[in-house]
């Protein structure tokens, strides 16, 4: 803020354009999650009755021996983890200015998400 900068066509723009990449990934993962939500919704509506078997079947159904329910669930959670990482990282970058605290929070966020991913995988593949 203190040093006046050249703004406009002659401004020196630097960066690894990871901003655009993350912007795209956040939106692509959003679409994946919206589609998965609709798949689950259709699955719930197609249930003959809300029983334990049909509920577990939503996440463990197979197609020709392929564990499609578990694969879709795991892919969706992977998309969720990446989506949440970008969103929460943006929150830390917007509100937490001291670099040390911000870095700590970012590392904790990653640990939190990786831990959640492992927990989810254990639940869904162990069912």
């Amino acid at each position: 803020m203190a040093t006046p900068e050249k703004i406009g066509a002659k401004r020196l723009v630097v960066g690894a354009h990871y901003g655009v990449g993350d912007f795209m990934i956040q939106r692509i993962t959003a679409v994946i999650l919206a589609v998965y939500t609709l798949i689950l919704l259709v699955g719930v509506l197609m249930m003959p009755g809300f029983t334990y078997e049909s509920w577990v079947g939503l996440f463990t159904f197979t197609v020709g021996g392929l564990p499609l329910g578990q694969l879709l669930g795991t892919l969706a959670f992977l998309a969720l983890s990446y989506h949440v990482w970008i969103g929460i990282r943006d929150i830390w970058m917007d509100y937490v200015k001291p670099v040390g605290i911000r870095l700590t929070l970012q590392v904790l966020t990653i640990l939190w998400l990786v831990g959640s991913f492992i927990y989810f995988a254990v639940i869904i593949w162990g069912a």
């Binding site: 803020m1 006046p4 939106r27 959003a30 679409v31 919206a34 939500t37 334990y52 509920w55 577990v56 996440f59 949440v84 969103g87 929460i88 929150i91 939190w112 998400l113 959640s116 927990y119 989810f120 639940i123 869904i124 069912a127």
Partner: protein
């Protein structure tokens, strides 16, 4: 550089919490901050959601779920999570449309913000009726 150095310009920095309470946001602004709040809420409650999911995926847990969900506080937490998901979902679809350059003008953007609030709050209300056994 020439005139900005001589004239003292007002600086607009982040407003503080006290100003925040009096700050009147347009509808799309409220939608936006609630998108962030709902996302952060679901992130913080992720282990709770997963623990509930784990419970529902075991035969005994599934049976115990109905009894567990009958506590009013549990119902309230469910409802908050349902609202957070529905708001994030509906507002997210609006953002995908805006990012694809649909409805960017002031009038359409205000209108779509209203539609999103109507949809997410309406759906939350339906879930609330179901959850508290009214319907």
């Amino acid at each position: 550089m020439s005139d900005s150095a001589t004239k003292k310009r007002p600086q607009f920095r982040n407003i503080n919490v006290l100003q925040l309470l009096k700050y009147r946001l347009p509808l799309a602004g409220r939608l936006s901050i609630l998108h962030r709040v709902s996302g952060a809420l679901m992130f913080l409650l992720l282990p709770v959601i997963l623990a509930l999911f784990a419970m529902s995926m075991s035969p005994t847990g599934f049976q115990a779920f109905a009894a567990f969900a009958s506590f009013p506080l549990v119902k309230l937490i469910f409802l908050v999570l349902i609202w957070a998901f529905l708001h994030h979902f509906c507002a997210g679809i609006r953002y995908l449309a805006l990012d694809s350059h649909h409805g960017l003008d002031k009038y359409s953007a205000q209108k779509s913000a209203g539609v999103v609030f109507g949809a997410s709050l309406g759906l939350t209300f339906v879930f609330a009726l179901k959850l508290f056994g009214v319907w």
